[in-house]
Symmetry: C2
Subunit: 238 residues, 2 copies
């Protein structure tokens, strides 16, 4: 137990300790056409060349992990006002073939139709259906699975689903989103009553256009009002 004898004791010069590199990996979930997708990039490193990989990068000298994750989002989408949640650190000593690299995994949520992938990144970026991904570079499939589990958990206890939809959405779209991501069925009337009672949607007094049936009313999420209600003890739960 010699390696533990200096627990929390003075850090020596850098070279005496384990040096490792630290990355962040973002599971960027996107939603479109009633399907949950994840943004991948083609891996260009052996032995994983050609396989889909998550978007990641090193944590830079002057930034923390959150900033690194936001930087990746900005790089891919031009936007850094994106929902982001840290999930877990992946740190198996052999997880990266080129050396000791730990990674902090995040997931984020975007509406695909409202997201323009930047040109620079665009060439090798792909939205893939979460269901259809079987194999990824590194331990990225494990990271994806962990983040998906976390997303499903958070979706039920925090009002974050809106981030997967356009700013303006119908109640039907919202319900379908929950049904697709959580793989459950919801009762239309009960779902609508619940949303009404939470009072966190703003009726935009506007309707869908260009649908060939009765158009649905559009709403937006009232995040300020929700924050106020939450701090007064409102519990969101689907």
């Amino acid at each position: 137990m010699e390696s533990t004898s200096r627990i929390v004791q003075a850090l020596g010069p850098l070279d005496e300790e384990v040096k490792l590199r630290c990355t962040v990996d973002c599971v960027i979930f996107g939603y479109d056409q009633e399907d949950l997708k994840v943004l991948t990039i083609e891996c260009n490193m052996e032995p994983f060349r050609g396989m889909p990989s998550l978007l990641g990068d090193f944590v830079a000298q002057d930034e923390d992990a959150d900033s690194a994750a936001k930087r990746i989002l900005k790089y891919c989408t031009g936007n850094d006002e994106i929902y982001l949640e840290e999930v877990k650190c992946f740190s198996k000593p052999d997880r990266h073939p080129f050396g000791r690299v730990i990674t902090i995994a995040y997931y984020s949520l975007v509406s695909i139709p409202q997201t323009i992938l930047t040109d620079a990144a665009g060439k090798h970026l792909n939205w893939r259906s979460v269901d259809e991904i079987t194999c990824m570079a590194f331990d990225h499939k494990e990271i994806l699975d962990t983040c998906l589990k976390q997303l499903r958990h958070s979706l039920r206890e925090k009002p974050i689903g809106f981030n997967l939809l356009p700013k303006k959405f119908s109640l039907k779209q919202l319900q379908t989103l929950y049904e697709v991501v959580l793989d459950i069925e919801l009762d239309k009337r009960n779902f609508r009553r619940k949303l009404r009672s939470l009072n966190i949607l703003i009726d935009l007094e506007e309707q869908q256009r260009e649908v060939n049936h009765r158009p649905a009313k559009l709403y937006k999420f009232d995040d300020k009002s929700f924050e106020k209600k939450r701090s007064n003890g409102l519990k969101f739960e689907i």
Copy 2:
């Protein structure tokens, strides 16, 4: 945005990238005398010398972060069968005065009367009431606060409170634990009914000894039975 242009591209030789050190810090929560405490060690590093610090250590070359956290628990208590939950990575570039150090924060749960602090560590280890800690070394107060918040959240949705009590406990002890940690009041009869209906306690057919009033019946947590029930959809919630 030049630093993002190689997102997820080949890792160069180690020296070209940001080198940093990685630690784990454990918020070891202990419970005794109707009080939630945290295990601290006296910091021996300037400028924090003498201040209470969390238990932490470097992640070693051949271990992952979870193993490092378990190693710390084993070092302090001689036991590594302890409830442990990863919480968050703390990675501000200036969080450590001696260089770039990121840390993965964990919390764990023990019953203080059932925990013997090892001699080696014991000399500078202290159980401190969570309420009374105002100031800690490094960013450890922030880590503590974050872990406490996470503990409170998990305590309501997972049956982990038992880890803070002796193996054998009374229903009153369990209720008080929830009341103390969550800072709420619970109705005795409703609490007991809920526990009874969950069917996750084993009646030990044994009683408290050496109390000067009617002794309470003792129970233990039936973790195997709970796991079975959980996978069949049982939702624990206090």
